[in-house]
């Protein structure tokens, strides 16, 4: 069984909500990433979404754009990202890791080679934000062959027919984009999200995780009441940005933000 499925099965048994932090690989520099992933786990992360930096992150707001720029100043490439995951895996064999990013670095790396090396490094799932299921027919079977799960987005604008298609193709969990906009955008309407998730539950057994607009313990707890998991990115990445010049301070800063969310979710 894939680590992601295992993790959600365990959480379900415990009656807990998944806490899924996102950081960009190589931000503020490649040497820090594995350590930051461990810090996130210590603060209560159930799954880690590790961003693959891209020069043109069209779905991201300024916070994650700048994270990509910092990582790319150090020429962070997929081979480096795999190395970071391997390093993380040496100390943590349990926590699922999902690579999140844009298709072009994967396209350039080669689909088959990417799938092989990602799986070998200890990656469990992949979310390419600019690859909807309709465009995934080449990549998805290669992922499946390597035991990597394809994770897809559902948005407030997704029609029911499309949602059904996405649910058919999705594995691991569904990433529900809580609002129209880019990452790091304004706060979300929890009630509306709840109604949307109710509709999705009629279509799928997949865990439903909500991202975009979650910034603190209160918003995490509110979303946690309607979702199986909460995803937090920009709130963490902005802490990395604050301390980019004193990276030794970053682990504690991340732990404070994520720990508060963990407490709020478990309360």
């Amino acid at each position: 069984m894939n680590r992601i499925d295992q993790r959600f099965a365990a959480l379900k048994e415990q009656g807990r909500t998944a806490l899924i932090p996102y950081i960009t690989a190589g931000d503020p520099a490649p040497a820090h990433t594995a350590g930051l992933m461990h810090a996130l786990v210590e603060a209560g992360a159930d799954i880690i979404e590790l961003g693959v930096p891209f020069s043109d992150p069209m779905a991201d707001g300024p916070v994650i754009q700048k994270a990509c720029e910092r990582a790319l100043r150090h020429h962070t490439r997929l081979t480096d990202v795999f190395e970071m995951v391997r390093e993380f895996r040496r100390g943590d064999a349990e926590t699922p890791v999902v690579l999140m990013g844009y298709l072009n670095p994967i396209e350039r790396f080669g689909y088959e080679r990417f799938a092989e090396q990602a799986a070998a490094a200890g990656v469990d799932g992949v979310l390419a934000v600019d690859m909807p299921p309709e465009e995934a027919d080449e990549l998805a079977p290669l992922f499946k062959a390597q035991g990597l799960q394809s994770i897809f987005l559902v948005a407030p604008t997704t029609s029911r027919a499309r949602a059904a298609t996405i649910c058919d193709h999705g594995e691991g969990y569904l990433y529900y984009v809580s609002l129209k906009g880019v990452t790091g955008a304004a706060s979300l309407d929890v009630e509306a999200v709840g109604r949307q998730l109710d509709g999705l539950r009629e279509l799928t057994q997949l865990p439903l995780c909500v991202g975009f607009g979650i910034r603190d313990g209160a918003s995490a707890a509110a979303v946690g009441r309607v979702a199986d998991g909460v995803i937090v990115g920009s709130a963490l990445v902005s802490r990395i940005a604050e301390h980019a010049e004193q990276p030794e301070r970053i682990p504690d800063a991340l732990k404070r933000v994520l720990g508060e969310m963990r407490q709020a979710l478990d309360a």
């Binding site: 069209m58 707001g61 072009n104 350039r108 948005a155 997704t158």
Partner: protein, 404 residues
Amino acid sequence: MTKFSDLTRLPDARGHFGPYGGRFVSETLSFALEELEKAYLSLRDDPAFQAEFDRDLATYVGRPSPLYHAERWSRQLGGAQIWLKREDLNHTGAHKVNNTIGQALLAKKSGKPRVIAETGAGQHGVATATVAARLGLQCDVYMGAEDVERQKLNVYRMHLLGARVIPVESGSRTLKDAMNEALRDWVTNVDDTFYIIGTVAGPHPYPMLVRDFNAVVGREAREQSLAQIGRLPDALVACVGGGSNAMGLFYPFVEDEDVTMYGVEAGGDGVETGRHAAPLTAGAPRGVLHGNRTYLMSDEGGQVTDTHSISAGLDYPGVGPEHALWKDVGRVQYVAANDDKVLEAFRELTRMEGIMPALESAHALAHAKVLAPTMRPDQHIVVNLSGRGDKDILTVAKIDGVEF
């Protein structure tokens, strides 16, 4: 059936041109793109819609644009006869308005009160601001900060037309970054905003509909050639950034096997220097950007590389997906013209024919200059003079060391 007749039946139902094109967008936009595709497909064959489009092109844009025989320049080059398709004479001064007229009709039908656009040289931004003014729509135009600097006149034109120009400071601060930012805006405001993409790139259905709206250029040029030359031309030449003016000229000739086509990319300092915007000529790898798969300048890590061109309108690392396919099947030959040759052609046409071309269009002229002497005087080349050069006067003056 000719060798290339199946090329006219693309894209397929999923927006693919062979391995290129498609709809590589984040999920939030999928619905809007499906809606747009449905709306366009139902209107495309609607005679009332076509009549409205044709009427706007005739009475607002000033179509048909003439096909002009550049006799003096042809004589000087000493080879084939050069004919200029005068898109520079359109209202707003470039071919871009053909597409914005079409998309504005779609925007009007959608009922959305706001339009956005990305722009490089500013021609598409001006054309969008123009149709927005005419329809009373709110208009925001994203433009790379570097392009805002080198295209000040167009920026002020847009301002006068009532549009807001938003300088984009991220990345290379040029056209691709403007498109990133426009997509971010659209994903946020998709309920009330219509995105008018200016080139034959982007997610399906944009490459198709921008092509269709610009194809009026080629349809006219084909008829005018038959009337004025007495037969089809031997060659077509057009500049290619994203590739909308080339697509517009070439598409109606696709099945005319005897018509050779040249797409001229921005060679910048020279393809061999790496400082260019010529993905097809340079043999760039396949990639995915801005919603479609195409040939894309990127490094080994898949990061999109910076481009360079004297012309802001061609300063783009990718190219429309249909051009990528046409390269593969050999329908069009893609070549590059370097900045210095482009300037030479700009000056030459201005002095010899009294027509000042846009620096973008001067790329096509630069290649015509190479091509014509290799052909006989009874052969004919049609060059798409896609835009006028007024907007580039400050750039050329700066090169001449003149400050205003």
